[in-house]
Subunit: 203 residues, 2 copies
C-alpha cells in the first residue's frame, strides 16, 4: 500500500518538524507556517493531517507516549520475575520522560499551559495505555503468587499515580532537578510500592 505508506511518512515528517520547532522555540512561538516549511510540505497538506497547531502539538505528545508504551511493553514481556520487571518499568518510564523533557526545555510546560482542557483527555488516554501494560505484569506476579491479590489495573494505576510527581508533566524540568536525583527518587518510591504488593509470606 504505497499511498498509505506515503500518508504515514508525511504525518511523521510533520511531527518531526514540530518536535524540532517546539524544542527550539516553544509552543507559543511556533506557527503552522513554520511547521509546514520545516517539514517541506504545503500548508494544505499539513491541514489534511492536522486541523490546527494544537492538534500538531498534541500529535507530538501522542507519538512520544506511543513510543514509551511500546518500550514498556517490551520490558513487560522480557525475562526476569515480575518484581524486577515492574521496577524496571517504573524507573524507565520516569527517565524516558525526563530525557525527552531535557532536550526541549520549554515544550511540555508551554503546551500544558496552552492546551490544558484538550490535553486532559489525551492524558487520561496515556494513563490508560500505560496502566494496561503495567497491569499485565501485576497480574502475572499475582498468578505466580509473588504479589498480593487485587484488581491488577487498579494496582497499576496506583503505581503510575504514585510516581507521576516525578514526570515533566507535573513539574517543569528545572524543578525536576538532576537526573541522578530523579533516579534515586523513582527507585526509592518504586521499591516502596513493590514491597507494598509483595505477599508477606512466600506462597
Amino acid at each position: 500500500m504505497p499511498a498509505r505508506a506515503r500518508h504515514r511518512d508525511l504525518r511523521g515528517d510533520i511531527l518531526d518538524a514540530a518536535d524540532a520547532l517546539l524544542a527550539r522555540y516553544g509552543y507559543q512561538k511556533m506557527t503552522v507556517d513554520d511547521v509546514a516549511r520545516q517539514a517541506g510540505v504545503a500548508k494544505a497538506t499539513l491541514y489534511a493531517h492536522f486541523p490546527s497547531k494544537e492538534a500538531i502539538a498534541l500529535g507530538t505528545i501522542d507519538r512520544m507516549i506511543d513510543l514509551l508504551v511500546a518500550e514498556l511493553r517490551q520490558i513487560a514481556r522480557s525475562r526476569g520475575d515480575a518484581t524486577q520487571r515492574v521496577e524496571r518499568m517504573l524507573v524507565f518510564r520516569i527517565l524516558f520522560l525526563f530525557d525527552i523533557a531535557q532536550k526541549s526545555a520549554h515544550t511540555l510546560d508551554d503546551i500544558y499551559a496552552a492546551l490544558r482542557p484538550q490535553y486532559k483527555i489525551h492524558r487520561d488516554r496515556y494513563m490508560q495505555s500505560e496502566a494496561e501494560v503495567f497491569s499485565e505484569v501485576v497480574a502475572e506476579g499475582q498468578r505466580a503468587g509473588a504479589f498480593r491479590s487485587g484488581d491488577p489495573l487498579e494496582v497499576a494505576r496506583a503505581f503510575i499515580l504514585a510516581t507521576s510527581t516525578l514526570t515533566p508533566f507535573s513539574l517543569s524540568v528545572r524543578e525536576l532537578g538532576e537526573r541522578e536525583a530523579i533516579k534515586r527518587q523513582i527507585r526509592r518510591i518504586a521499591s516502596l510500592l513493590i514491597y507494598g504488593i509483595l505477599r508477606q509470606e512466600p506462597p
Copy 2:
C-alpha cells in the same frame, strides 16, 4: 506585648481578605487596593506587612500549609500505632488540600502560573516541614520494630512525593475529580506505601 499582638492581627486580617478575594476573583484580577479595602487597612499599612501582591498570595499559601503542618503534627502525636497514624496523615493531607481547593476554584492554578519561580522556593519549604512531621512517625515505627530501617526523612519525602500527584498543586480541581474518587486513590496509594515499609517478619 500589645504591639506585637496588633501586628499579628493585621497580618491575619490582610490574609483573610486576600483569601476571600482570591476565592472570589482569582489571582490575576485581585489588586492590592482590593485587599487593603477588604481588610480595612490603609495601603501603606498593608505594604508594611507585604511588599507586593505576590507576597500576599504566597502569604495565604504559607498560612494554609502552616495550618496543615500543625494538623499533621497533631495526628503524628496522637494515639494509635505508627502504621495507622501514617495512613491517617497521608489521607488527611490530600483531603485537606482538596477541600481548600474546592472552596476557591481558580486560586491555586492562577497563583501557581503567576508565581512559579518564587513559589518553587516556598514549595520546597512546605515539603520540608511536612516531611519532618512524617519522619517523626516513621522513626517511631522503626524504633517499635514495625517499619523497616532507612533514613526516616528520606522515607517521609518518598511518601509525600508518591502522593503529591493527588494534590491541587499538581492538578487543577476539575482534573482531580470527585472527593470520593480522590479518597479511594489516596487510600490505595497509602496502603501500598505502608505495606512497603512494614517489616516482612515481625521483630
